[in-house]
Amino acid sequence: MIVARREIWTARTLLVLLMAITVLPFVSLFTTALHQSGTYPLGLDWPSEPHWGNFADAFRAAHMGELLKSSLLIVAGVVPASLLIATMAGFAIGHLRMTGSRLLFLVFVIGLTLPFEGVVTPLYYQVRELGLLNTRWAIILPLIGLFMPFSVFWMRAHFVNMPDELSEAARVDGANTWQLFWRIHVPLATPAISSLAILLFLWTWNQFLLAIVLVDDPTKRTMAGALGAFQGQWGTDIPLLCAGSLLILTPTLVVFLIFQRRFVSALLQGSLKG
């Protein structure tokens, strides 16, 4: 293809500019985090003597160890359970297609655009009645339900593409429906399931609204909810707040950088399918 040199250079410049704008807030957080705690520095200013100790202080102030544990427990409660029941439902709706499955699918699809704010008030009273307020279950159980529309939608999209002949052959060999599902279809669905796992991990880890409404104790919340509380407590000490925010960001960043290929494609597909 004939492409003018000038256009390529415009493209490169724009791309670099876009990257710079994306990274700028992180850089500002970082330089600010290195200033003397309690001061009010400029947004982008390398300190004469960087206070690396701020990160250690923030680690203690934010109870990072407990936060990590809490977020991991919540993720462990939400993600595997959601994956299993959504895969089962997607299999039934997309592949078994029993009577009523289309109606069922529509019922799930209704939930796709639902803003969490729409149900958070009754959820609060419901969770309170169950006696689960201020426990991690208060975040785990509702999140599984709230993730169902997207998860079922996603898994159905996979199972709809699986040829019927596959199941017919297994049936002939005497497999019952559970064996058909577990031995044949789940292994074949691994790519779809692992992309969904990435998305659910991210959405759980970053869940804020449910965390602040349903759990008072920041150390029983998700990472995002805890960050909100950290801001409330240390909002006036800018360098410490910046250091704490960076620390709380780190786990997601590390996971993202390790699995970046999968992340990007999962997120792109996630919004395309959605």
Partner: protein, 326 residues
């Protein structure tokens, strides 16, 4: 996300004919006497759906019904409740403070949707030519960062960027615009646009990459032909890029409009709805009404209005941009 709602729910693949048997367990000896098929009993299918349906029903459908139900009562969350009919709804549409939250949500669409989609289109069609370069691959990772971090963190970082000594003001003074520097989130006239900028930053990367993925599916021969016919970059954009991207644009607009209307995290962190009520949005108002003002009825009515608004915006977008060729 409601794409499927309008898409035919019909499975296009049901009619798939060619048998793909390579992955099958050996079936050599026996030949099927009758097509065992997927003749699963009705109940087995429902058993497979039951757990998902249970969680969905218990934690989405049930609260959803209760939101409607609460919206017809006056209730402080503790004592007895009084039936008030549609009074809470009339309050939502007449109380200037409540009505303003809805206006703000629509103003945010300009920032959350219009900027990322338009800028994303411009960026993607410029970057198209170097989409496979090493620089572009690195950019893919970097530009995705805002999607990965919690919105709360974006809110904190940008509150600092937009503060009186923040980077934004530093840059402005540097280029001689000292006159307009201010604490952007603390000023009545600039607070809402400032919140909008945060949303635009979060969503720009996602939109650009989605659109770029769409553009790279367009046959390069089309562009070559246009070049030979003497078309410039602008005409290329209008006649080739735009029409082929209808579906991707629809996705971007849908995702960003929902993000704007249902915004909560960013506003909660960066401005708490202030100064005054300058950045109060429905999501945050629902939270305050329900949990600080103890006006559960009003909060629920506003929640219903918000959900209806989201559907009223998303369904037409889906209808306009759905792929009619299918």
């Amino acid at each position: 996300m409601a794409r499927a709602l309008l898409d035919d729910v019909i499975d296009v693949y049901e009619a798939r004919s060619e048998p793909r048997t390579e992955a099958l367990p050996p079936t050599t000896a026996r030949s099927p006497a009758r097509p065992a098929g997927l003749r699963t009993s009705f109940w087995v299918g429902w058993l497979f759906v039951a757990p998902a349906l249970l969680f969905y029903g218990l934690f989405v459908l049930r609260p959803l019904l209760y939101t409607f139900w609460y919206s017809l009562y006056r209730w402080d969350g503790i004592g007895p409740s009084t039936w008030v009919g549609l009074q809470n709804y009339s309050k939502v549409f007449t109380d200037p403070d409540l009505l303003k939250t809805i206006v703000h949500a629509f103003e945010l669409i300009a920032f959350f949707s219009a900027i990322p989609v338009l800028l994303g289109l411009a960026l993607a069609s410029t970057i198209r030519q170097i989409a496979t370069s090493r620089l572009a691959l690195a950019a893919r990772t970097v530009v995705f960062l805002p999607q990965v971090i919690p919105l709360v963190a974006a809110g904190i970082a940008w509150s600092w960027m937009l503060s009186s000594t923040g980077v934004v003001n530093q840059v402005l003074s540097h280029i001689g615009l000292d006159g307009i520097t201010r604490a952007w989130l603390g000023d009545f006239s600039t607070a809402l646009p400032a919140v909008g900028v945060i949303g635009a930053w979060v969503l720009l990367g996602l939109c650009t990459l989605l659109l770029l993925a769409g553009i790279s599916k367009i046959d390069p021969a089309l562009y070559e032909a246009a070049r030979l016919d003497g078309a410039g970059p602008f005409r290329e954009f209008v006649h080739i890029t735009m029409p082929s991207l209808r579906q991707e644009i629809g996705v971007c607009v849908t995702v960003t409009v929902i993000a704007a209307l249902a915004s909560f995290d960013i506003v909660y962190i960066s401005s708490q709805g202030g100064p005054g009520n300058a950045t109060m949005v429905p999501g945050l108002e629902i939270y305050y009404q329900a949990f600080s003002e103890r006006q559960v009825g009003v909060a629920s009515a506003l929640a219903v209005v918000l959900m209806v608004l989201v559907l009223a915006c998303v369904l037409p977008i889906q209808w306009l941009t759905r792929d009619r060729d299918r």
